[in-house]
Amino acid sequence: MTRRLPLALLLVSLFPASLFGEAEFFGSLENLWSAYGGGESGRVEWGDLARVRLGVDVAGGEHISGRGEGEVFALFGRDAGAVDPSSASLFEGGYLLLQRLYVRGRWDYVDSVIGRQRVAWGVGTAFRPTDRWNPVNPLDPGAYRKGVDALQVLVYPSDLWEVSFIFAPGRGGRNVRAGGRVEGHIGAFDMGSSYLYDQATGRDMLGLDFKGDLIVGVHGEGAYLPENGRREKGFLRLLGGADYSFFQNLFFLVECFYDESGEEKPERYDRRRLEDGLTTWLGRRYLFSQVTYRVDEFSSLGASHLMNLSDSSFVLGASVASFFASNVEVGLEERIFFGDEGSEYRPSEDVPWCVTTLRWEMKF
């Protein structure tokens, strides 16, 4: 029954919504076909992920609006790894994932949002130390991020300043997370500071971030999580990044990340935390770089490099993407994993070391 609940909520939100106020529907069809090479069998294995995403924006007068958004997806062959089935409900041989379902109220200087929503803290691309809500996966920074079930109140004292308070009860009212954030604009910089209490870990987090211009674009984040009531040591996470565009079509980004709670030695990695989705990295020091070249108005080439500096394992990525119509995009991506056995990106000889993904998406 509980597995069917999200489906019921989605149906309730999507279809009758159009009867009340203005409703605008949107969606997409997407398919990712992946080939995995160099695994245990030595053969090339394949996996496929097909999904349909549907959503609706509803405006019920001047003050109330809402969004419902969900997807049905099916996995074939080897798990394509592009979704997290643990958060999905099994549905007729496929899966259903409720991405967003929230109502927003707007008053003079205050918004309130209740329901499953995306909370975007921080400014990083591959790592976001202050984002404890929808953590970024450095292996797939552009992936669609899950929503958080929360109540958020946002206050807008001016056009570029925002103060937000958020309360997320967690499952069954346990694992409460609560916090706040102030963000604004000073000089040529966007600045933010945040605080979060996480009942599950018993930790507080104090965060700062900025993004702006010097000669190049610069951004940075810092998060400090002090010792908790369980006498677990406090630690610091830091991110620094820079970006620059050469000519009109070549974009370069680099980020360095340090996590004091990460491990320097591969034998001390706690891979269960990775598998359970409690973290998206294991090591202490990382370097991420990305180059994007826009070939023309329709096509782009990309290359990326993600390195765990603690164990020297790394991932090289290359991609090409092109529009075949105003709403149809096709992309091909190759990722190759390097490292000693036991390292983060090459945990064992049995794991595939190269993944080729062909993706197409049509939005409507």
Partner: protein, 247 residues
């Protein structure tokens, strides 16, 4: 003798033409252009048609503008639905609907094309400050694509950072609309060519309703901007040009 006469008449006409044009102050021409372009408030529905090598991408958008300093663009076509830009003075923010994230556009990224088009962010930001950024001179008059135009040359002022070192601008004599503009690099290389195809008359205010930007660094690459509807002087609620409005 006949040839000599013909050359003499042409030269005389040319000199007369220049002197007539020189009687006008180039800043006065730019002011008259501004009286068409600089608006208190406006709501515009437009389509951006990006063409390259026989392929076409179409993007639709709603633009709200106040005094040229403030702007909010929301894309409405399926691919970019919900993507928004906020312009406040010289600064830009972008809202990515899938990530529900607001990102400040860095200074260097302003050179890139808006949503993959041939219009760069700088093109959108620089226009209101032409008088501040460039020395403007009137070269004369020119008949181009069926319109009598003033030909202006704009050269970047020393120590000023601009998107284009030199601009050659054809302004229609009748409507004071930019009919054509060539945008050059310091090396003298032509980077972009802007042309207006259709001018609309909105209660005495003339405004380009169809224009094209060609990127001369790419073969066969152009973006057509077509305005479907425009309302000038619309009331815009307070708080429209804010980060809140991006969400």
């Amino acid at each position: 003798m006949k040839l000599f006469l013909s050359i003499a008449v042409s030269l005389l006409f040319f000199v007369l033409h220049i002197s007539l044009a020189e009687g006008l102050d180039p800043l006065e021409i730019i002011k008259k252009v501004d009286s068409n372009y600089v608006i208190d408030t406006a709501k515009i529905q437009a389509e951006m048609i990006i063409q390259s090598g026989g392929r076409t991408l179409t993007k639709s958008m709603t633009i709200l503008s106040e005094g040229g300093e403030k702007g909010l663009i929301e894309f409405t076509n399926p691919q970019d639905r919900g993507t928004k830009y906020l312009k406040l003075g010289d600064e830009l923010w972008m809202f990515f609907p899938e990530a529900e994230d607001i990102v400040k556009i860095s200074g260097h990224m302003l050179r890139q094309g808006i949503m993959g088009s041939d219009y760069s962010y700088e093109d959108a930001l620089e226009y209101e400050r032409l008088g501040e950024l460039y020395n403007i001179s009137l070269l004369g008059k020119d008949d181009i694509r069926g319109k009598n135009c003033y030909l202006l040359e704009l050269t970047a002022k020393p120590d000023v950072e601009v998107a284009y070192f030199r601009r050659r601008m054809w302004v229609t004599e009748e409507e004071f609309v930019i009919w054509q503009e060539e945008l050059y690099a310091p090396s003298g290389k032509l980077l972009k060519l802007y042309t207006t195809q259709k001018i609309g008359n909105f209660d005495g205010r003339f405004y380009p309703v169809e224009s094209t930007m060609e990127n001369k660094l790419r073969k066969d690459s152009r973006t057509v901007l077509r305005i479907d509807s425009v309302e000038f002087g619309v009331p815009i609620p307070p708080g429209t040009f804010s980060k809140r409005a991006l969400r």
